[in-house]
């Protein structure tokens, strides 16, 4: 505690920031994961659906660095395809939750009054409908399909952004800095860009980053209750639950999708620790 104030960076430097070691490692991690997800399926030319039952749970070897899964499919190939699908699905659903969620939150804070009340009630209603219920109900329309999961996850997630943005913007919008800009004739867009975003973005990014992991985990939660993507589509979340039973015999199998997610998330968090580290 005594060193609390040791490096009080009351004011920080403007201008171009130099990248810290943490950020570099974050970038490297992120590039690794993204490269694996994007290029992996192209480079690894094993068919992820190709099964050799005789080689079930075979231990990793040089030729197959991650071994084979319970059906004797190449784990590496499945992981690469799964990473591509999961990460893009996660990105898609998080973005399509974050963008409208934040915008609606802004709208509510901006307009206030009735608009705000109605929007808040709507958000409450969505929040009150458990996300899982929503996804399960949607998934029942198209079992194994892609879109119900996507829509469901986005629908369940947007409220998070709505609430956070609304709460923070309400305070910011009442501040003298925004008042000054308004007096000077700046429009909504400018105020959002120059006054709100700089303050909100770090918080939103934290949510987005964890939201990405959350979306993948939501898939695994759905897999857990028996609603997931259609086999044999590899997907990280579903793989986690599918490979769970083998955690004793082949712990590396269930660990590898978790590790991909871990590295991706770590990369994201490290990368954006900009200016926060002293």
């Amino acid at each position: 505690m005594s060193t609390l104030s040791s490096s009080l960076p009351l004011l920080e430097q403007a201008g171009p920031r130099r990248w810290s070691a943490g950020q570099w490692s974050g970038l490297v991690l992120l590039l690794l994961v993204a490269g694996f997800a994007l290029l992996g399926p192209l480079v690894i030319d094993t068919d992820p659906a190709r099964q050799q039952l005789a080689r079930y749970l075979e231990t990793p070897s040089l030729a197959e660095p991650l071994g084979f899964d319970q059906l004797g499919r190449s784990m590496l190939a499945r992981l690469a395809h799964g990473a591509r699908l999961s990460l893009s699905l996660a990105l898609l659903s998080v973005l399509s939750a974050a963008i409208p969620g934040s915008l609606i939150g802004l709208l509510a804070a901006w307009c206030g009054g009735w608009t705000e009340r109605v929007l808040a009630a709507l958000a409450d209603a969505v929040l009150a409908l458990p996300g899982l219920l929503l996804v399960l109900l949607l998934a029942a329309f198209a079992p194994g399909g892609f879109w119900p999961l996507y829509v469901g996850i986005s629908l369940a997630l947007w409220v998070e952004y709505f609430r956070v943005v609304r709460a923070a913007s309400r305070i910011l919008l009442a501040s003298p800095q925004v008042e000054a800009s308004r007096l000077l004739g700046f429009g909504a867009l400018y105020i959002v860009r120059c006054h709100l975003l700089p303050a909100l973005l770090p918080r939103l990014l934290t949510l987005v980053r964890f939201g990405l992991a959350g979306a993948v985990l939501a898939m695994s939660a759905l897999g857990f209750v028996g609603v997931g993507l259609q086999p044999p589509t590899p997907e990280l979340g579903v793989m986690m639950i599918e490979l769970l039973p083998y955690y004793r015999e082949a712990p590396w199998l269930v660990a590898s999708p978790v590790l991909v997610l871990f590295l991706g998330l770590l990369g994201l968090l490290l990368l954006s620790s900009q200016g926060e580290a002293a």
Binding site: L11, P176, S181, G185, F186, H195, A199
Partner: protein, 493 residues
């Protein structure tokens, strides 16, 4: 006890503050004797606040200090700020320049003062022997007494966003003062305060001094330096130009800058030539029977006024009487409880502008100044050269614009805010203490510029100022808000 040598409470030797390779404050040396006072006068942006921070040891991370600093005989390297941190509050306390930002937005005013009494104050009885509750209630009582002494009893339970600029100034001062540290550094303790309040602050300072507290007082108020007596130092452009006893120096300034500075005291400003009343000028805005209260606290009632083009109307009244609120009502930023605000028809949306009492709060904190100004220029298709010219007249170096708002001095930011508004050529300017953070010289120039520009463009100016001299020299008319609730409008002269 070592009585052999009369120790200095603070001795600064060859202190330099560096921004990279560039010195912002260069090689300053001075000393504050035990129980003595050193007033620091100087040009806005000359490095007074940085000096104070360097002494405390809380310079921003991007700056560093060299030289040496001795606190009550205890020597330390200026670069080694950490070594002085343990003495914060107990041996040395600092009143920061921007009081409003320094107050915790989520805590009531009274508690922020009380906690200094409870946790820091050396005058507080030994807390070991006392129950915590008792200590706490005593601290609360002391805080209320202190608040009352500066006329803040009504604000005790308010949160910082509910109090006026001058009240924030006093609260922050009290919170610092309560620590009872043997050395206090106070950065502009009287800015934005009316005569009565200034007197109260001075009385508090003198009382502290009588108890043996040493003061390093940064100020633009020449009368404060004079009243405090002791030593005086004058800073210009990061360098100490003159130092000596206040009495002598004020009576016979040697350095040309000091002479100019003292000559620029509003009390010595020339009276303007008597202008004919502008009854014929267009009415820009009109207040009709405006009243406003916050909860049970009534600010004013039945205020009526007309603002004509090219006219400077001063609003005066004690701190907390509702000057800022009145301006906000005029600008439509605050709803009056009753009454009407009329705007001349056909004025654009941006015709009414405001110069904020607290300039630091009115800028987007994360946008470099140049960018926000460029955005403004682009938005309204204004000529950038005109802005540069304005800045130059106010002696703001263009290089400053590349910084963030919090990386320039308070006075610099205030001038930039003023330039921003003048550039807009508005029909009405609500100038809320527009020169509160400026040294007299700059103040005079800036005020002249403001009036000149307003007259040239035909802007009406609603000028809030606590300084009767300024009112006398600048304003055409004067609107006084008195706490009793009535207000009257009268000619300025």
């Amino acid at each position: 006890m070592n009585a052999s040598l009369p120790l200095d409470a603070l001795r600064v030797e060859d202190l330099t503050v560096w921004h990279g390779q560039q010195p912002l404050v260069g090689g300053v040396s001075f000393a504050v004797p035990v129980g003595g006072v050193l007033s620091l006068l100087g040009e806005s942006g000359s490095g007074k606040s940085l000096l104070a921070q360097a002494i405390m040891g809380n310079l921003p991370a991007s700056l560093r200090a060299t030289g040496s600093i001795s606190l009550a005989g205890q020597y330390s390297d200026a670069a080694d700020g950490r070594s002085r941190q343990s003495g914060w509050g107990r041996r040395i306390a600092l009143l920061p320049q921007e009081p409003w930002l320094a107050l915790d937005p989520t805590m009531t005013v009274a508690r922020q003062v009380a906690e200094t009494y409870e946790l820091v104050s050396q005058s507080a009885p030994d807390q070991q022997n006392e129950s915590l509750r008792r200590a706490r209630s005593q601290a609360a009582a002391s805080a209320r007494r202190a608040l009352a002494s500066l006329g803040l009893e009504a604000a005790a339970d308010k949160y910082p966003f509910m109090i006026s600029g001058g009240m924030a100034q006093r609260v922050a001062f009290l919170a610092t003062h309560a620590a009872g540290a043997p050395l206090m550094i106070i950065d502009e303790p009287t800015k934005g305060l009316d005569v009565d309040r200034r007197g109260e602050v001075l009385a508090l300072l003198q009382a502290a001094q009588a108890e043996g507290v040493s003061l390093l007082c940064i100020t633009h108020d020449v009368w404060l330096a004079r009243a405090l007596g002791g030593q005086l130092a004058v800073l210009q452009d990061g360098a100490m130009v003159e130092q000596g006893s206040a009495e002598a120096l004020l009576a016979q300034p040697r350095h040309a800058y000091t002479r100019r500075l003292l000559g620029a005291d509003p009390a010595c400003w020339p009276l303007p030539e008597v202008r004919t009343p502008r009854a014929d000028a267009a009415v820009i805005a009109e207040l009709r029977e405006i009243s406003k209260s916050f909860g049970e606290q009534a600010l004013f009632a039945g205020v009526s006024a007309r603002l004509h083009a090219g006219e400077v109307v001063a609003v005066s009244g004690p701190s907390g009487s509702g000057k800022t609120s009145l301006g906000n009502i005029l600008l439509g930023l605050l709803q009056p409880d009753s009454g009407q605000v009329l705007r001349a028809p056909g004025l654009p949306r941006t015709a009414f502008q405001k110069i904020y009492q607290d300039p630091a709060a009115a800028f987007a904190p994360s946008i470099p100044l140049r960018r926000s100004l460029q955005d403004l220029v682009r938005l309204h298709g204004l000529p950038w050269q005109e802005l540069e010219a304005l800045l130059e007249r106010m002696r703001i170096a263009p290089a400053l614009l590349d910084r963030l708002p919090r990386q320039v001095s308070g006075g610099e930011l205030q001038r930039i805010a003023l330039a921003r508004v003048l550039l807009m050529k508005p029909a009405l300017i609500f100038a809320d203490e527009p020169t509160s953070r400026l040294d007299p010289l700059t103040q005079q120039e800036v005020m002249a510029l403001l009036v000149e520009q307003a007259r040239a463009v035909g802007s009406a100016v609603l000028l809030v100022t606590h300084d009767a001299d300024i009112v006398r020299c600048v304003a055409d008319r004067r609107l006084t808000l008195s706490p009793a609730g009535q207000s009257q409008s009268q000619p300025a002269h």
